[in-house]
């Protein structure tokens, strides 16, 4: 469920995760953790990759949404849900940090 509070939130990337294009897919590689201990594969689809690109510690979720609405054919409600879900997941794996 999207909330007004969520849309004002600003996140920054955890430098411990680097995005790498692996054969056409964007994979988040946790560099601070020994790779051989990494048990999950974090891949982002096109929309996820665009969100990852836009997160910079200054731009709010609202601004990210606006930018994406111009780029993709997606309803504002759908985008709200996707954005919230993805940021929650990225927070859970600590790839994003709340500012």
């Amino acid at each position: 469920m999207s909330t007004a509070a969520h849309s004002k939130k600003i996140f920054k990337k955890n430098p411990g995760f680097v995005p790498r294009n692996i054969a056409g897919e964007l994979v988040l590689i946790p560099v601070q953790k020994e790779l051989r201990k990494v048990n999950s594969i974090y891949t982002l689809n096109e929309m996820g990759a665009s969100i990852w690109e836009l997160v910079d510690g200054k731009t709010s979720n609202d601004q990210i949404k606006e930018s994406l609405l111009n780029r993709y054919e997606v309803s504002a409600e759908q985008l709200d849900r996707d954005l919230e879900e993805l940021t929650e997941q990225l927070l859970e794996i600590q790839a994003l940090i709340k500012v």
Binding site: I22, E25, V31, L35, V38, S40, I41, T43, N45
Partner: protein, 511 residues
């Protein structure tokens, strides 16, 4: 290296660094069904697997996999095949061999008295029970401690006060870290931590064990310096305990050393230095180590360096990885304090590579990559074959997306590292992926597998590489492995495009 001393009363006293070195000695004594009194901050008990969990991957149907999992509870959750004996699990082998019938794990009193630390011990027992590989009964709390049974060995955990009196000779097993137990609170103040006194001194421990009328059949004493569990400044406790359990009188030098350490703790470095002058053999290494620390804290660097060099001449083990508290701070992610420790060590040993490398690692953890890089190059100017420095530089360049340079350093690591970490091959594989060199990526990722790096990521990358190289069948096989591992190690954020989702896509496409 171990030293066996037959004591005057025929019992043997074994002084070792890593605790598992006592195992062959116990075997050589042909011990069976004895009582083991184990004084240690750590249990030294982890399961040793009899079976290789990778056999799970050979199951061809979901039903077969489920049956395997049922029969071999939680292999995956414990990590992969842990079949080698080491200082963390040798007691499992001791239990399997029926060397002991009862195990008393005596934990430091401050560890037991602290509810959080006590709870960690309780959790450890319950984790062993939950993920049991061998027979174990459900742990229970009693008035004085915890109880369970492992491989038929009755196990008790508690402080020294909970030990009963024994009417037979016992195997006594002491880790020096029992005396120097550190709670996390000490990490808050670096200088205080560096000066921290033991919670119990060796002669007091000896007296308490005597009061319990413990008669050792054999006594094993572990310094635990190499593992980093005992601070190097207290390495001499091993020698002290050996003297006591060999029924010899402690020399006056020991007590002078003890006074000096206590004076330093009270910030009386001048008095401490005067007292240290009275200390002679066999505690000279400890004396010079203490002198170096006192001079350093007084800001007299030249004398600190001179004394530290003298300490190392008498005991080169003090230069081991853990000759300072840096690794301890790193373990608890206190990188600023770790940096301070390495800084001290690099001032004491300006030409040594280890403290410089430690400093570089701490700086990397603090995100100061530019400074870290400079130090890493300095390490290479001292030792041009320092494999771990090449590895760090490779990682740094990989992070900065300088793939060509990263690869150069990774291959240099391979040149000088006798036993390369499996993740090195994974990193090389990732770099080759970036360069779209799928053949080389495939080769190095297969090396990663050969070296035991069995993670979903490796299988997933291999699947991708094979797909790019046009081997669809092979690609599907590796996706399948990635899927199975992901199921076993399941810790996936929901909603991501996961490996098994990717597999489903591929399988569907194949239909």
């Amino acid at each position: 290296m171990s030293v066996v001393i037959p004591s005057t009363q025929n019992q043997t006293v074994l002084l070792v660094d890593d605790h598992d070195e006592v195992y062959p000695h116990w075997k050589s004594l042909n011990l069976k069904n004895k009582i083991l009194v184990h004084l240690d901050e750590h249990s030294d008990f982890q399961w040793i697997h009899d079976k290789d969990p990778l056999t799970l991957l050979k199951s061809s149907t979901a039903k077969e996999l489920q049956t395997q999992l049922k029969n071999s509870k939680n292999w995956s959750s414990l990590g992969f095949a842990n079949r080698e004996m080491h200082l963390g699990n040798y007691l499992c082998q001791v239990f399997k061999d029926q060397i002991v019938k009862k195990w008393y794990w005596v934990v430091p009193a401050p560890q037991w008295q602290n509810p959080k630390s006590q709870n960690l011990i309780w959790q450890e027992l319950n984790t062993h029970y939950k993920y049991r590989i061998g027979p174990m009964t459900k742990p229970k709390k009693t008035r004085i401690g915890f109880e369970t049974s492992i491989y038929g060995v009755k196990a008790f955990v508690g402080p020294l006060s909970s030990l009963p009196e024994f009417d037979e000779e016992v195997i006594l097993n002491i880790d020096v870290d029992y005396l120097t137990f550190n709670s996390k609170d000490w990490l808050k103040e670096p200088l205080r931590f560096r000066r921290k006194l033991p919670w119990i001194w060796p002669e007091d421990l000896y007296s308490r064990l005597e009061a319990k009328k413990i008669k050792p059949l054999t006594t094993g004493i572990a310094h635990s310096i190499n593992g980093g569990y005992t601070p190097a400044s207290y390495k001499f406790f091993g020698q002290t305990l050996k003297t006591l359990f060999s029924k010899e009188t402690l020399p006056r030098d020991y007590y002078e050393l003890k006074v000096a350490i206590s004076l330093r703790e009270q910030n009386q470095t001048g008095e401490a230095l005067k007292t240290l002058e009275k200390v002679g053999p066999p505690f000279e290494a400890a004396k010079f180590y203490q002198k170096a620390m006192n001079h350093y804290e007084e800001g007299v660097l030249e004398l600190a360096q001179k004394n530290f060099t003298n300490a190392l001449k008498r005991d080169s083990e003090l230069t081991s990885k853990h000759n300072n508290l840096g690794p301890v701070y790193e373990q608890y992610e206190k990188h600023e304090y770790a940096l301070e420790e390495y800084e001290m060590m690099s001032k004491l040993l300006p030409e040594a590579e280890k403290p410089l490398f430690g400093k570089a690692s701490a700086l990397l953890n603090l995100g100061q990559t530019k400074k870290a890089k400079e130090l890493l190059y300095k390490v290479l100017s001292i030792n041009p074959h320092h494999a771990k420095t090449f590895l760090r530089l490779g990682n740094l360049h990989m992070l900065e997306n300088n793939i060509e340079t990263a690869l150069k350093y990774f291959y240099r690591t391979l040149e000088f590292e006798k036993t390369p970490e499996p993740n090195l091959y994974l990193n090389i594989g990732l770099c080759h992926f970036q360069q779209k060199n799928y053949e080389k990526a495939k080769q190095t990722l297969r090396e990663a597998l050969k070296h035991g790096c069995h993670t979903p990521l490796v299988y997933w990358l291999l699947a991708k590489a094979y797909k790019k190289l046009g081997y669809s069948k092979k690609s599907r096989e590796f996706f399948m492995e990635a899927l199975r591992l992901n199921l076993l190690l399941l810790k996936q954020p929901k909603g991501f495009k996961r490996a098994h989702q990717a597999l489903k896509d591929i399988l569907n496409h194949g239909k």
